[in-house]
Symmetry: C2
Subunit: 469 residues, 2 copies
């Protein structure tokens, strides 16, 4: 069996902790591994690293590679599929199926979101194995979750004829219900939540797409013919431009006669919004979840996430407070679904706090913007032991570097020299330079940029360990 991990999420629902360039799947939420890393690790030993495919967007590639390398599971870099743009789940699934069918025409593929929470892994793997058997018989298998509450945020699946071993034909898919309807679904025992996890043969899903989504199928076939050739990325770009966004649920599952559902009885959460954070973090006796430097006076059922600074919460009930270095969210718990509208409002108003964090991860370490002012910008730069930034040049800024921890090797023009703690150096405009940590402990420098244009895109790269030239 192969797995297609869907890692193209947009990072709107967990704002301000998630950002467009650092979405939920890249976050650690109450675990030492990120949700993406957990998704990969969870497949061991049923699915081999070389059989894991990850589909995402180019702007997340560096971070995803970096996170995979941390868990060192041997996921092949050729198995990372880049979508030219977000087109919902059906095109991503189709693209994954093309890759897998090419690798092995009989491939069974599990489609797994990269940002869900799953516990009791043995049960998960057992369910996956049973689903594989159904998939080999030609079924499109969806994982159904026994509803724990009359949730109105999920789609439901009505059970049809039993197929044995906790699996059923799907009678029908139903859209997100209102509370009353949801209560009826839960008490009837005939409905399961649609988890968004699927298992099928790559060939089967492509055949079903041919029947139910012929336009998408035609595009996929054109892409398929270019796969592995020099034309692949141009063809992908071209076809994806014309593909309409569509979900696999609406596009195929709701129309197919071969849909089956298997009961998934492991603890699961889609972590769909901030109010689900209590699924991953323990609450105190008053139902409060607090992370970081928090002073709580008389709060109840309230989540306070303080990244770095102090947060004082007084008399709050059923609230969510999330504090990050550049943005704070205060939200009623039952309106947590509106957080994505906040991100929309930020875009509309030209604010940029939805794009990145103040601290930006890089393959060589990280940088934090401490301050921006007219004609200057101050960054703290941390370089991992043995790592180096690209050899680069800026046309519009000079840089002062002061080492505050570790030792740097600085290349400036033709000179190469060490800079130690409490020493500084200066990089004039339009001068080739490179920063490297030759040591065994992290290097930290403070960079003061001066110039009339101080954006990240004023960079000309000459050489790079991370293929960004």
């Amino acid at each position: 069996m192969k797995a297609l991990i869907m890692a193209g999420g947009q990072g709107t629902r967990f704002w301000p902790l998630s950002r467009e360039l650092y979405p939920k799947q890249l976050l650690k939420l109450g675990d030492k591994h990120t949700l993406l890393q957990q998704t990969v690790l969870r497949l061991d030993p049923l699915i081999k690293p070389r059989d894991i495919y990850i589909i995402t967007s180019g702007k997340l590639l560096v971070d995803i590679k970096s996170q995979l390398s941390e868990v060192d599971k041997g996921v092949l870099s050729g198995n990372i599929i880049l979508e030219p743009g977000p087109r919902n789940t059906a095109p991503a699934v189709g693209l994954g199926a093309l890759y897998m069918k090419k690798a092995d025409p009989d491939s069974v593929m599990a489609v797994l979101p990269s940002d869900h929470l799953i516990k009791e892994n043995k049960k998960f793997l057992a369910t996956l194995k049973k689903a594989e058997a159904l998939a080999r018989k030609g079924y499109l298998v969806v994982f159904g979750i026994k509803p724990a509450r009359p949730e109105t945020g999920y789609g439901y699946i009505r059970l049809g004829k039993p197929l044995g071993g906790g699996s059923y034909k799907v009678d029908s898919f139903v859209e997100k219900p209102d509370v009353k309807t949801a209560e009826g679904y839960v008490s009837s025992g005939e409905y399961l939540w649609n988890s968004g996890m699927f298992v099928w043969k790559a060939g089967t899903i492509l055949d079903e797409m041919k029947e139910h989504m012929p336009g998408l199928h035609r595009s996929l076939m054109k892409i398929g013919r270019a796969l592995g050739t020099g034309k692949e990325s141009a063809r992908l770009e071209e076809e994806f431009g014309a593909i309409k966004p569509q979900s696999i649920d609406y596009g195929v599952m709701e129309k197919s006669k071969n849909a089956a559902v298997i009961i998934a009885d492991f603890p699961w959460s889609d972590l769909g919004s901030w109010d689900s954070i209590q699924d991953v973090m323990p609450a105190d006796s008053e139902g409060n979840v607090t992370v970081g430097k928090v002073v709580n006076l008389g709060c109840k059922d309230t989540t306070v996430y303080a990244d770095n600074r102090l947060v004082a919460a007084v008399g709050l009930t059923d609230m969510i407070v999330v504090d990050t270095p550049d943005a704070t969210l205060v939200c009623r718990k039952d309106m947590a679904q509106k957080v994505k509208d906040v991100v929309g409002a930020l875009k509309d108003r030209g604010f940029d706090e939805y794009i990145t964090h103040k601290t930006v991860q890089r393959p060589w370490g990280a940088y934090t913007v401490l301050q921006t002012g007219p004609m200057y910008k101050i960054k703290r730069i941390e370089v991992k032991p043995g790592a180096k930034l690209s050899c680069q040049m800026h046309h519009h800024r000079s840089e002062h570097w002061i080492v505050v921890a570790g030792t740097a090797t600085v290349t400036r023009g033709d000179d190469v020299f060490p800079v130690h703690v409490n020493e500084s150096t200066y990089i004039p405009m339009s001068t080739r330079h490179r920063l490297e940590n030759p040591g065994k402990v992290p290097l930290q420098i403070i960079e003061v940029q001066n110039g009339e244009y101080l954006e990240e895109d004023d960079i000309t790269r000459f050489d790079d360990d991370y293929e960004r030239v």
Copy 2:
């Protein structure tokens, strides 16, 4: 008439905007002047600047002088009285009375808090004038406010025999009532709020203290004999150590037979907590007061104060959110009185966000701590045109300075040299140095400190324009 402005407030109720070293009276709340500056300006032309006395604590002296110099009202620096420690209002009033009686034995003194809001200044001055006449007859006059609502946070005054012109003998002072009692007070028309503003002869209040607070009076007499001599500050220190904290209301007013109240019919607020911010800042049609970079989705009657960073508020009703660079408060409006308990909790837990802001005002400009790390600290320093820091030395740190705006004159040991934009210099440990802005625009430098001890008290001053040597 003279005025004693009480400016020793502790800065707990408006935390995190107010701090121990930057209390409410120093804040601008919806006005171009701070509350202290407004209090001084409000007395013009009735009370001359040289007749204004300000009583405060030494740790606020520099900021108070700096704020007075900004409004340039000619308040004499000899009129700033420093209390050795907080002892509530009675000792402060007594000390002020000593000063005033010494200047003129027939002084009438108005006692005015420095952090109240008053509008319609003509009415205020007219009330002050009428109170002066009563004070000259020997009354202790308190300003009473017609209650606008059954407030449970104030003491009330029951009206006695009319004295004409909107003034009355005081029948009795009553403590903060419960809601039901307060409602009765308001509907009876016989009660006024106790505003904490008083007018009396300096001699009268000292006589009343002799009767009702004999211990305090004895201490004051000892201090009085040392006034203006070389022993003054030692005597003050000595006596204040033994004085019990006591309010003038409880210590004298409630016991005196000569208490009178005058109806103050100007708009007034004591700005006693964050929920009174709506008295100074305009609300939108939904009752929301927002300051700064705020995204509001469906909030009602909510105050969001964003100092610098972005705050998103979703679905809040009757809430207060206050965001500052190092601390955020989220508080139910009807629990705004609990904010002082937050400050208590911070002290108990050893957090220091109640002491100062990240940006600290100095007579020569301001500095902001951008980041602290092990063995390093980064500051942005802004020096006003023409101003200079003290000539100083540090034993435990060296400093890198990078000029990002303006031009600096740097003294380092025996050298004096200019440092321009995009230039840097280095001050080794134990080296005398001085930073000066010789120019016409603000000087901004980034300072990176390196060393094993980086606190403000590692400073030896040799020369200072602001008498801090």
